[in-house]
């Protein structure tokens, strides 16, 4: 059992889907946290969901990082709490410097809502313990600004430290240009923070939470969180 806190900024829209995935599908404790709140007590994992926080005004995620709740999230992450940023949540985490790099406009200059195939590059993280190494997950994206960029040194460090957790791949498992939906450097779909407890990813695991909707693969990430939380508890 794990306890999830799902942050709601003005303009967030996947909080209900995240709640559905962890509460209705996986029967975990979950609560929505309005961005003006600061209390994250009792939580194992904070989810920053997808959406257009503050209407993406200025820059995606740029205003949300100043919301009152974000001070608590930064503190929570420093203490080793698990933080999962999905789509706009990933953008907020980059803006808040909990993750390196930035998410630029898609190379196509278009919003894209399409299925993507992710290869698990590191199955030994708190979020991927329920996945096998190199396992492929079918999880959709839905964004206009998911083109991950970081300078060469940072990317080399991320790659070298096993902090590239997910990569967009084709049906043969290759990180080909055709499989890259947004132009991200090295087909990067998700990265881990330095401490290993903060994950940012552009695809929406909460959307692939049920076969009826096309895939259940996203649940593996939430299950990973649950297992990691239980492990901490057992220690």
């Amino acid at each position: 059992m794990a306890s999830f806190g799902i942050v709601v900024f003005p303009g967030t829209w996947s909080e209900r889907d995240c709640y559905y995935a962890v509460h209705d599908r996986l029967r975990q404790d979950a609560r929505l946290i309005w961005h003006k709140e600061r209390d994250l007590s009792g939580l194992d994992c904070v989810v920053l969901p997808g959406g257009f926080s503050y209407g993406d005004h200025l820059r995606a995620g740029a205003i949300a990082r100043f919301s009152p709740v974000m001070q608590s999230v930064v503190e929570f992450a420093r203490r080793g709490g698990l933080v999962l940023g999905i789509c706009n949540g990933f953008q907020v985490l980059c803006e808040a410097h909990l993750l390196p790099g930035a998410l630029m406009r898609n190379a196509s200059c278009e919003f894209r809502c399409v299925p993507t195939l992710l290869r698990v590059e590191n199955a030994d993280t708190a979020f991927t313990v329920d996945c096998a190494a190199e396992e492929r997950l079918s999880i959709p994206i839905s964004h206009g600004e998911g083109n991950y960029y970081a300078d060469a040194d940072t990317v080399a460090r991320l790659e070298g430290d096993g902090r590239v957790v997910f990569r967009y791949v084709d049906e043969h498992g290759e990180a080909s240009p055709e499989a890259n939906p947004n132009g991200s450097v090295n087909n990067i779909a998700g990265i881990l923070g330095e401490g290993g407890n903060v994950l940012g990813m552009m695809p929406h695991p909460e959307r692939s939470c049920e076969d009826l909707l096309g895939s259940e693969d996203g649940l593996k990430i939430f299950r990973g969180v649950i297992r990691s939380a239980e492990r901490v508890l057992a220690r």
């Binding site: 303009g11 829209w13 996947s14 209705d24 809502c113 839905s142 939470c209 009826l212």
Partner: protein, 741 residues
């Protein structure tokens, strides 16, 4: 009393001199400037339906499941388990013609507000679009702008855009059609109505501050577009989906906490129409003080404030004892609410600017007493000639050439490039995504799903408006049925030219009669709708284009159907019969270069029986796939089943005796489906068809990587896919918005 008024003033508010004289007679005095503006807005076609009202009475609007029929912000039907589905379609044609991005975006925003004003959570939107041909750069700009505007609004707001349609015809050059439909869900007992009550209750205005944008939008929508319309750019509003999302969350929280008496969104004619409609529905009066309305611009007059169409605003009627609680909710979302007036028992609209009374009009003059127009309708002879012409079908193209040309034609090519720019999944309900016959959304907590679609066919309606309108309803129902769902109810958007032209009024009358006939026969009541007239540019009218939005119900989502072929070796069966029906067809237009002939015949009784066969077969789980046969005929429908499933098919086809291959392949005969099923289930399926006296033919087998139809057609899946996938983008600059945005 003789009224003397400057014609330029009347032109500004789109009233005739006769109407002005009526106003003077009704008031017993001359209206002042503010009052005239209010009359102009409320008596505009857009708000009053003064031309279409007598016709609309023909439409069936009742039924066992109808919870809310026409007259509210949206219609509602009961889907069982305590839920109601709330939906409406609305046009935003004129704004989109001038400023496509903002016009389309605010079209989506407006229709979403109509749905959450009823207290419902919006779960889907659809868009029915028409443009001129893409070889014209202006049309490409409009297409790109509209698609971009729809995406921007829906994606940011967090509602999935799950369906719609896009067609290209010459007549929509400079006057595109942008019809947006929104669908919401609500617990049936929580449905809100926009009916004010209780003298002394507070009237609050919440959401965006009021600016000068959109002044005269309603009247702008009620006159023809001209070259001078560019000057109307200020009449186009700019949308803010972020603010609208906050407004929705706040309003739904108010509904949930039962803090409001009534809610009415501000749309066309802004504060004027919202105050008038809300008060007159409740049979009360209303006082508004414009000095208490927060503005985003300085020096706005009472006239400006009353007629502004600034978006993302809501009028709320509140018991004074609840005002603190209401304000607490708005503060949570950082929304600003002004207390701008109160409900009275006078039956009048009184507008104050501080201590000065600036307008004073009995409400009934703005609603009940409005002058109904009865224009003359007359069928144009050349049109009747065109529709009764004995068609000589001649094309240089071989059947495979015609087939590939049709697959790649902008009207039939894959729309994936468009809908992948729309978030069609958010809210975790989309079970069948765009690209099929109808989208399917599951209803959480139940086994049910709702099917949604929009359909219209301007070309058929041009040739025979009554026949075309009947087909639009039948095809919408067929699209719903092709998912396994039962059609429930309709919302309609009537897009026509200037009704003062006799042929346009004839088109309108015939179309409404056609919709009424088909909806009655298929037992789908019309619960909401919208009329958009004056779709003319420089004197030329668009095709009559009634668009049908339909909602259906599937009791068990596990029994859903999609068009895609699924298994090698499945049998392909056509339900219905192919006949000589090339009049108005896509083949005739694209491959012969003509728009003529009578639209396909439609026997509504056969239609109903054919749909019954599919529904029974779906319920018995006999079918593996199901697709309706429409534009482009059997060959195109078969190709779509193959391309969506990634499987070929080896089929043969028969038609009426002596029919030539183009008829067999491309005839648009109505009441047909292509289904696939396991070989062992074919006898049961055909027995079922026989029981309902519906013709059925086994066409062939699913499998391989070639689409084959008799000896006429044999095309590889790859070649067909290239034509189909590339059709909308290739050589036309695609639909990506240019830098003009």
């Amino acid at each position: 009393m003789t009224a003397i008024v400057d014609p330029r003033v009347l032109h500004e508010v789109a009233l005739t001199e006769t109407e002005y004289e009526q106003i003077v007679a009704l008031l017993g005095r001359q209206p002042n400037h503010v009052e005239l503006g209010i009359f102009g807005a409320m008596w505009s076609e857009h708000c009053s339906y003064k031309t279409s009202k007598p016709l609309l009475r023909q439409l069936p609007s009742t039924g066992d499941r109808v919870v809310q029929g026409p007259g509210e912000n949206a219609g509602a039907v009961d889907i069982g388990d305590g839920w109601a589905v709330v939906f409406k379609i609305e046009s935003h044609n004129h704004p989109s013609a001038i400023e496509p991005h903002a016009g389309a975006a605010t079209g989506v925003g407006g229709i979403l507000r109509d749905v959450f004003t009823m207290g419902a959570f919006p779960v889907a939107t659809l868009d029915s679009l028409r443009f001129g041909p893409l070889d014209n750069p202006r049309n490409r700009f409009l297409f790109g702008g509209v698609v971009g505007g729809i995406g921007d609004y829906g994606n940011c707001f967090g509602v999935p855009t799950v369906g719609g349609e896009i067609y290209f015809e010459d007549c929509y050059t400079d006057n595109p059609l942008v019809n947006a439909m929104a669908v919401g869900l609500i617990r049936k007992d929580r449905l809100m109505r926009a009916s004010a009550s209780g003298a002394g209750n507070k009237v609050m205005l919440v959401g965006a501050d009021t600016g000068r944008d959109g002044i005269h939008g309603a009247t702008f929508a009620s006159v023809e577009l001209t070259e001078a319309s560019e000057e109307r750019r200020p009449a186009v509003q700019v949308g803010n989906p972020f603010l609208e999302k906050l407004l929705m969350e706040a309003c739904l929280e108010l509904v949930d906490k039962e803090l409001v008496v009534a809610m009415q969104d501000l749309g066309a004619a802004g504060l004027t129409s919202s105050a008038v409609e809300c008060a007159s529905r409740g049979g009360v009066g209303i006082d508004i003080d414009v000095s208490r309305v927060s503005r985003r611009e300085e020096h706005m007059s009472a006239y400006d404030v009353m007629l502004s169409e600034s978006q993302e605003r809501m009028l709320i009627v509140v018991d004074p004892e609840r005002e603190l609680d209401v304000n607490r909710v708005f503060r949570k979302y950082d929304l600003h609410a002004d207390d701008i007036g109160e409900i009275t028992d006078t039956g009048e609209l009184r507008v104050f600017d501080g201590d000065d009374q600036v307008a004073h009009i009995p409400l009934r003059l703005l609603t009940d007493e409005l002058p109904i127009r009865h224009p003359e309708g007359r069928a144009p002879k050349e049109r009747l000639d065109l529709a009764t012409e004995k068609l000589i079908i001649h094309t240089e193209l071989t059947p495979p050439e015609s087939f590939l040309k049709l697959l790649a034609s902008p009207n039939l090519a894959s729309r994936r490039g468009v809908w992948r720019t729309y978030d069609h999944q958010v809210q975790n309900n989309t079970v069948v995504h765009p690209g099929g016959d109808a989208a399917l959304l599951r209803v959480k907590g139940t086994r049910k799903a709702i099917a949604v679609t929009t359909d219209g066919n301007g070309r058929y309606c041009f040739l025979d408006p009554r026949a075309g309108a009947r087909i639009a309803v039948a095809e919408a129902a067929r699209n719903i049925v092709a998912t396994g769902a039962r059609p429930l109810a309709v919302t309609d958007c009537l897009n026509f030219g200037n009704p003062e032209k006799p042929e346009v009024f004839w088109e309108l009358s015939e179309s409404v009669a056609g919709i009424a006939e088909a909806c009655t026969a298929l037992q789908v009541p019309v619960v909401s709708g919208n009329v958009s007239l004056y779709n003319d540019t420089s004197g030329t009218s668009i095709y009559p284009t009634p668009v049908i939005g339909m909602v259906g119900l599937l009791d068990d989502v596990e029994k859903r159907l999609t068009p895609a072929f699924r298994h090698h070796g499945d049998m392909v069966v056509q339900l219905g019969q192919t006949r000589l029906d090339l009049g108005g067809s896509e083949f005739l237009r694209t491959c012969v270069g003509r728009i003529a002939g009578a639209p396909p015949r439609l026997d509504l009784d056969l239609e109903k029986r054919t749909q019954a066969v599919v529904l029974e077969a779906a319920d018995d789980e006999l079918l593996r796939s199901c697709h309706d046969v429409s534009d482009g005929g059997l060959a195109i429908a078969l190709a779509e089943c193959c391309l969506l499933g990634g499987l070929g098919a080896d089929c043969d086809a028969v038609a009426e005796d002596g029919a030539d291959p183009d008829v067999v392949l491309f005839s648009e005969s109505q009441s047909r489906f292509i289904v696939s099923c396991a070989p062992r289930d074919v006898p049961r399926l055909r027995d079922l068809a026989k029981k309902h006296s519906v013709p059925s033919q086994v066409l062939g087998l699913v499998g391989g990587d070639t689409i084959s139809l008799g000896r006429w057609l044999s095309i590889s899946l790859d070649e067909a896919a290239a034509a189909w996938e590339g059709g909308l983008a290739a050589g036309q600059g695609g639909f990506t918005e240019g830098p003009a945005r």
